[in-house]
Subunit: 347 residues, 2 copies
């Protein structure tokens, strides 16, 4: 068995020696320096064609992949961003879009989910420890927590939370405008006279914005007959809301305005299957968000659709811009939502 070793066996022996193949291994195998290997992986690196070929051959044969952790340590760029989402279930599309767009740009996503108010502080500590280049937050943060990002020079972009009083970047959908469109539609085109407004969780800024605007706008239009009940964004809470409106008011209103689509589905189902009413003939229901199911024939929900793809793109772009150049001033981008199924409203 003194036969000449083939390249393939050689490289296998080589690889077996240690767990991971490092740039030193490649260098040694190719008979060059480690620096040369490193430079081959850097675009614009000063390497001759011959050298590059030699190195790449060794890379192929050893199955070398640069260690992103080590690279991150020296370059102080992890090429990772953290995405912090509070409620993955309601907005899968958002995460999907963000992930795809970051990946497309060679940036990796470290995912953090906040279940019913897990300790945000602890999550943020993890974020600092992992040296992410930036963070997209689709959840609520306290002012002090936002301040921590500045202190550490970590770019931050909020998704769908606009802090009007703090200089911080955000991408959001115009809740006020959208809600106004819905209310106008119901009152002016639909001549609805009595209303119920179903708010979302009290700690959701977005929900509060939507609900407040709905109430304000209704008052502005001279509507007095309004009951307000609160939910938690879930389907079930939408169903409960109908019961509670019934209990409070004795009868159902002409229209129910929900702070999101999910609760609107709950309302519709409870009206139809709990009270045997027709929607929209007997009662109108409107939601907010424009999730997929809003377009299903069962619902044809009147809602404001958030332009998720454009918002995600904006968030990704803004974040990465600030990663490149972190002195860029914060910017708030507000997209208009689009009315869906507006024609199905009762006249």
């Amino acid at each position: 068995m003194a036969a000449k070793l083939t390249n393939s066996t050689k490289s296998e022996l080589f690889a077996a020696k240690k767990r991971h193949v490092t740039s030193y291994d490649v260098a040694q195998y190719a008979g060059v320096s480690q620096s040369a290997v490193s430079r081959c992986f850097k675009s614009g690196g000063s390497v001759s064609r011959k050298m590059r070929e030699r190195v790449m051959k060794a890379v192929e044969e050893l199955g070398y992949q640069p260690n992103a952790i080590a690279r991150g340590l020296i370059t102080r760029r992890s090429n990772m961003v953290a995405v912090i989402v509070s409620n993955l279930n309601y907005y899968p599309e958002v995460l999907s879009q963000l992930s795809a767009r970051f990946t497309e740009r060679g940036v990796h996503v470290l995912l953090f989910t906040l279940d019913q108010e897990s300790d945000v502080g602890r999550i943020l500590d993890q974020v600092w420890q992992y040296q992410v280049d930036g963070v997209v937050v689709a959840a609520h943060l306290a002012p002090g927590e936002i301040e921590a990002f500045n202190k550490r020079n970590v770019p931050l972009v909020f998704y769908n939370r606009a802090y009007s009083d703090i200089p911080v970047s955000s991408v959001s959908c115009d809740q006020v405008e959208g809600q106004r469109i819905l209310v106008n539609l119901l009152v002016k085109n639909g001549s609805h006279k009595s209303f119920a407004v179903v708010s979302g969780p009290a700690d959701s800024v977005v929900s509060m914005q939507r609900t407040r605007e709905a109430m304000n706008r209704l008052h502005d239009l001279g509507i007095e007959d309004i009951v307000q009940v609160s939910g938690d964004y879930s389907y079930d809470s939408g169903r409960d809301a109908v019961d509670r409106v019934m209990a409070q008011r004795g009868a159902l209103p002409d229209a129910i305005i929900c702070a999101n689509d999910m609760m609107a589905f709950g309302c519709m189902d409870q009206l139809r299957y709990g009270y045997d009413l027709r929607v929209p003939e007997d009662v109108s229901v409107v939601g907010f968000d424009g999730v997929r199911a809003a377009g299903w024939s069962s619902f044809n929900l009147v809602t404001i659709q958030q332009p998720v793809d454009r918002m995600a793109e904006a968030a990704v772009q803004m974040l990465l811009d600030r990663v490149e150049n972190y002195v860029l001033p914060p910017e708030k981008r507000i997209f208009s939502g689009v009315l869906r199924n507006g024609a199905t409203i009762r006249n």
Copy 2:
């Protein structure tokens, strides 16, 4: 201005010097060695009470957080796992569960999404580069790609893909058993005679398993009147399926068996709102997965619910076990699904 510096100003000056506070900074500030600081962050580290207090005081004042990247480099443990999912939209709960459970155990999730067959090879290269401790895959991989995990000693657990012929760990739901329950229910309890089977995408192993079992089981029970059409797991393809069944068969069958819930919703809506039929009175529709909306009153979909929480827990546990001890033999865990809304089937 020769006043004595307060601790707070001191620490601020200190922090301003460099971007990141390192363990050396803490050591210098506390007047101890870097090793001591490191030991304070290691459970079971040999440190006196006095030392620990001194260090922790400095840590607090400087806002020090250990650099997980540097730690990962030396310990060869990144405390990160990769989660690769193909279709985020359909199974948000899975990701949500996985993420929560990993986080709970101090493990972080690097998310990779595969949109319509993005280059899996490239994704895997990224996975290797980031030195993740393990990978959960909820997508299809080629045998060669699976082999790469072994070569690199990276633990791998498949979620909801059982490769019967390859020794690899997986967690899945018993498709065959579940489908059999559904077919039995329809044929024996419901005395349905004619069927349509709507399959999912051709490249989905799970879809093929479900569809094949449905066909087999129907044949075994002596059913001959079956048409098969294919969809892509989407709501819209469920609607189309109804049209195609109608075109092929001239009339609608007694029951439609869909490879997932989403298509079942599409079928129901098309039957009800496109053909003005009643479900389940005129036509029965069954799905598979047991997503949230299956429980909504609009649908009350007969389906097999996957025990997502238990499956996610199992996947997390199995993966982390193999991270601790990577010579553990691969294991396949198959959970039984649970019939939902079975009582709503037409007799």
